[in-house]
């Protein structure tokens, strides 16, 4: 999947996350989270899943997380990626 434009998904509400996806030459993932100290590695791993599933290898992904659960992370990231890939 090719990232063509900037797109967002999600919210800044508790137990949710806001995802911003932009075109980039490389794959960059930036994470801000209220639980960054404890769970950054798990959040990062969870973001990798939709990336792998959709075959995204180049994008800048910024995540602003407020303690979202795994499936919320997966869904928000996938939504942002799909929006960013639209023609």
């Amino acid at each position: 999947m090719q990232i063509r434009r900037k797109a967002t998904a999600g919210t800044s509400q508790s137990s949710d996350l806001m995802v911003v996806v932009e075109p980039s030459d490389t794959l960059q993932i930036e994470i801000e989270s209220t639980v960054k100290k404890q769970y950054e590695h798990l959040i990062r791993a969870r973001i990798q899943e939709p990336l792998g599933r959709l075959g995204v290898t180049a994008a800048r992904i910024r995540v602003n997380d407020r303690g979202a659960l795994d499936y919320a992370i997966d869904a928000r990231v996938e939504t942002a990626l799909r929006r960013a890939a639209e023609e």
């Binding site: 967002t8 806001m18 209220t34």
Partner: protein, 319 residues
């Protein structure tokens, strides 16, 4: 309670104003966007955005402690990103800073009655793009608006540059001046090109002028000017000074504290200042200005690129 919505009608905005004022805040009219949160027919929370600054966030007591703030910030940021902003500031009272930190805002500075936090790309992006200018040593800094760059600025830069390893000349990015930012930056570069240890760069969002410093959360407006100045000095000290190893900030002799003052350069018995330069330009007295500004500024003033500025200054003089 449904999600936050934009407040577009006069009636909705009047409701927002009432809520803002009932929370002890002052309503300011420069908002690009006002959003709100309804419970039935009643507005229970509101927030605004002016450019990249989120402001006038007010939440009715019944909704405090819930996630009304998250909802307001979400919509303000989404709409702000649509308007092209990547970083958002919020000024608030220090006791409210933790509420924003829970939304992943980063605290930049807190002083007296005010705290400033940011979210988004922010200072990291700024430092990433200016990494090539980082020099080790005992460095100094000057922050100028340079509207336009005068011999006074040059004198300050030359004097300060002799006392430090590297001198950073920060030009205020914010475009609220007659001379546009691009011209102010370029003239500062050209005028100091002969000084090998002077580096010219921009302040981005990290210089707060009286124009952007919001006062809506202050109890008394007359405190705003002094607080803004102190706040700006603190912001520079905590955000811009450390990454560039700045140990001293130099200013022309104005009543500042915690800075090193250098007497202003005078010509014909009076100190040179950019405001005097603009006044003279307003009268069309270009020859007189020639003795107050460096050649680069003079060349710009005589070029067609400055026509619009000259007309604007002349108009200001008549009005």
């Amino acid at each position: 309670m449904t999600g936050a919505v934009p407040l577009l009608s006069e009636r909705d905005r009047l409701e927002a104003r009432k809520l803002i004022e009932s929370e002890g805040l002052r309503f300011e009219t420069d908002a690009d966007d006002i959003v709100g949160l309804y419970e039935g027919e009643r507005l229970v929370a509101t927030g605004s955005r002016a450019g990249y600054v989120l402001k006038m966030l007010a939440i009715a007591p019944s909704q405090q402690g819930g996630d009304a703030l998250g909802e307001l910030v979400t919509l303000l940021m989404q709409r702000g990103m649509d308007a092209g902003h990547e970083t958002f500031f919020v000024y608030t009272r220090p006791e409210h800073a933790p509420s924003f930190e829970r939304l992943n805002f980063r605290l930049l500075v807190t002083h007296g009655m005010a705290a400033l936090l940011e979210i988004g790309l922010g200072i990291r992006e700024y430092l990433d793009t200016h990494r090539a200018l980082v020099r080790p040593g005992r460095n100094g800094a000057i922050v100028v608006n340079a509207n336009p760059f005068t011999l006074g600025h040059l004198h300050l830069a030359e004097t300060a540059a002799r006392r430090v390893d590297h001198l950073y000349l920060f030009v205020v990015r914010e475009d609220r001046s007659v001379f546009p930012f691009a011209a102010r930056l370029r003239l500062a570069r050209e005028a100091t090109a002969h000084l090998p240890n002077v580096l010219v760069l921009e302040t981005s969002r990290y210089a707060v002028s009286a124009g952007t410093f919001p006062s809506y959360f202050l109890k008394r407006l007359d405190d705003a000017a002094l607080l803004q100045m102190q706040f700006d000095v603190r912001l520079f000290g905590s955000v811009l000074a450390p990454p560039f190893s700045v140990r001293a900030r130099f200013v022309g002799d104005e009543p500042y504290c915690a800075t090193t003052q250098i007497p202003r350069l005078a010509h014909g018995g009076a100190a040179i200042s950019a405001s005097r330069v603009r006044e003279c330009l307003g009268r069309g007295d270009l020859d007189r200005v020639a003795s107050w500004v460096p050649p680069a500024t003079m060349a710009f003033l005589r070029s067609p690129a400055a026509d619009a500025i000259m007309r604007c200054l002349a108009g200001a003089g008549e009005g």
